[in-house]
Point group: C2
Chain length 343, copies 2
Amino acid sequence: MVDTLTERSRQILEAIIEDYIRTAEPVGSRSVTRRHGLTLSPATVRNVMSDLEELGFLASPHTSAGRVPTDKAFRLYVDSLLQVRAIDEEQRDEIRRHYRGQGRDVADILKETSRILSSISHYIGIVVAPRFTANIFRQIEFVKLCGRRILTILVSESGVVQNRIVESDGEIPSEDLVRMSNYLNALLKGLSISEVKTRIFQEMENDKVRYDELMSRALKLSEQTLDEPDTEVFIEGQVNILEQPEFADVAKMKEIFRAFEEKGQLITLLDRCMDAERVNIFIGSENFLNRMNHLSVITAPYASGRNTLGVLGVIGPTRMGYDRVIPIVDYTARMLSELLGSG
Amino acid sequence: MVDTLTERSRQILEAIIEDYIRTAEPVGSRSVTRRHGLTLSPATVRNVMSDLEELGFLASPHTSAGRVPTDKAFRLYVDSLLQVRAIDEEQRDEIRRHYRGQGRDVADILKETSRILSSISHYIGIVVAPRFTANIFRQIEFVKLCGRRILTILVSESGVVQNRIVESDGEIPSEDLVRMSNYLNALLKGLSISEVKTRIFQEMENDKVRYDELMSRALKLSEQTLDEPDTEVFIEGQVNILEQPEFADVAKMKEIFRAFEEKGQLITLLDRCMDAERVNIFIGSENFLNRMNHLSVITAPYASGRNTLGVLGVIGPTRMGYDRVIPIVDYTARMLSELLGSG
DNA sequence: GTTAGCACTCTGTGTCTTCGAGTGCTAACC
DNA sequence: GGTTAGCACTCGAAGACACAGAGTGCTAAC
C-alpha cells in the first residue's frame, strides 16, 4: 500500500492531513503549496491529489471544495507517516499532578483518570473498569444492617471493592456472620473471582456442607454477591466534542450522544483492545459502530503487574491530533498501571 | 397576585401555557380560541393577552409572533392553576418494575433511580447521594492489600459504603488490623459520621491512647478514611434534552452541558431542597444558575425513616409537563425512601 | 514531468420579494 | 362597558436571484 506512493505523494498527503487536522476544512491545492513550502505549483499538486483520490486516500465533498482525507488516509498516517512524539513535559507533569490526590478508592482513581484524559487531550476520556471476574479474591465481609438486610463486601487483591445489599431468609446473628466470612475467606483464598464461583458451586454440592446451616447460608450469601455486575465505564468530557466544528450540527451531535448512552457497544469495542501490547487506534468506520462514524478511538491497556486489568483511551474526531494524543494515552495508561500495581 | 386576575384571564393564561407546553411555539390569539372552545373572539383574547403581558405573565418575542409564558406565568401555573394528577398507573408499575432488580449496592440503586426518573419523564433524572457525614456509623473494616497499602471500608447504618486505599507508615499484620477495627467499632458505635470525626480527634488527645501504637495507628487510619468525599450526583438522560426543540441550537446546548459539568453548583441548588416537605419546583431563572435559564427543576427529598438523606429530581425545559412529572418525582422519592429505609 | 491559463462547477452570502401569522387600533354592536 | 369585526401594519421565514470566491480539470506550452 505504502509503496504504491512516491515520496512526493506521501509528503503531499501528509500535508493535506495535517492541514485538515488543524482546520477541519477541505484542503485545496493552493493551500498545500502555500503552507508547506513545496516548490511545486498548485497544478502539479492537483494532479497528485487526483491520483490520491483515485487510490482512495482523498475524497471531495463536491467539485469545488478541496479534498478531505479518508479513513484510509488517516490509517496510513498513523501507521507510517506519523512520528509519535515523546510526551510533552508539561502534560506529563499535569498528569502526575492530577494523580497526586490523597489515597482514594479505586473507582475514584479510574474516574479521575478519565477526567485527566479528557482535560489534557481536550477530547473525551474513557476508562473501562477492570472486569471483576478477572480479579483475585482477597476477602469477603458481611455487615449486618437492620433486620434481615446484610451488606456483603467483596475485596480483590488490587483493592477493587464490590458491595451488595442482600436479604437473608432468616435473621443471622453478627457472630455467625463473622464465622461465615472466616469460613469463606479460608475457602476462597487466592482464587480468581471466576474460580471462586465454580468453587462455591462445588462446595454447595458437598454433603458435609449441605447439612451445615451456617456454611450453606454463607455460600448462598456469597453467591448473591458474585453475580456479574455491569462493567463500569467512566466517560468524561463529552462536552469537548461540542467544540469540534464538524459536529456543530444538532443531528450529528444527537447521534454521538446516543452512541455514548449505549455503553455496551462501547465496551465491546474497547474489550477488543485488552490484549493489545500498547496503544491501539480505531479510525472512523473501522470501529464498526455506525454511530461513531466520524470518531476515532485511541486506546491502551492498563495492568497491575503482568495482569491486564482494563482499557483506557480517548475518543475524538477522526481528525484528532494523533501525534499529541497518542503519547498522552500511552503515558496515562502506564501511570495508572503503576498506581494500581503493587507499587 | 392571583386575585388581580379575573377567572377569564386565568383560563386564557392556562390555555396559553398548556399550548406552549405542547408545541414550544409562541401562542397566538386565534389558536387559543380554536383549541379551547372558548366562546370568545380572537380580538377579545388579544385584549386579555395584552393585559397579561402588562402584568408580566406573557412576553412577545417580536410583534407578530404570538406570546410566550414567562417564568412568572409558570410559577402561577404550578402554584395555583395546575391540578396535580395522581400518578399514572402504568408509570407507577414501570417504576416498580425497574426497582425489582436483585439486591444491589446503594450506589447502584441511586444510579438506577436516576435512570428511572429520566426514562419515565423523558427529561433529565438527577439524584444527589446522601451526605456521608449525615449517616450513622455502623462498622469499619481494614483489608490488607499488598505491602503497606490498606483498604479501609466504612459502612453506615443505611448500607452506604465508603472505601479508601491508604498507605500505613509501616507494615501492619492482619491480626493487628482486626484488633484495630474491633477497637474502633466499639468506640464509634451509634455515632453519626460527623460525631465520629470529633470523637476520633478527642481520642487522639487521650494520653493512654497516644502511647498505644496500635490504637493510635487505628485512629490515624480511620481519620484518613473519613475526610469528606465529593458528594456524588447521578445524572442520567442528558440526551433527552436534545429532543427539546428550544435547544435545537448548538450554542444553547453547549451552555446546558457545561452547566451539568459543574456539578458543584447543581448540588448547591439541590441542597436547598433538602428541608422541603415534599415536591419543590424551581422555574427557569428562579434557580439562580444563569446557565440554566430555560430549565426548570422539580425536586423531592428522600429519606430513611425520619432522617432525610438526599434529594432527587427531574430537570427539563421550563415548559415541561409539570402535571405529568410532579407525580413521577414524588412517587419515585417515596419508593426510594422505602427501599433505603428499614423496610 | 511541470506549469500557466482558462472555462467550469459549486457553495456561501447578501439582497429582494412574497407570504402568512399575528398584532393593535378603531369603530360598530349588544 | 364589554365584545367583536375590520383593517392596516409589523415582522420573520422562505424562496428567488445574482455574485464572489475557492477550487477543479483539462489543454497546451515549457
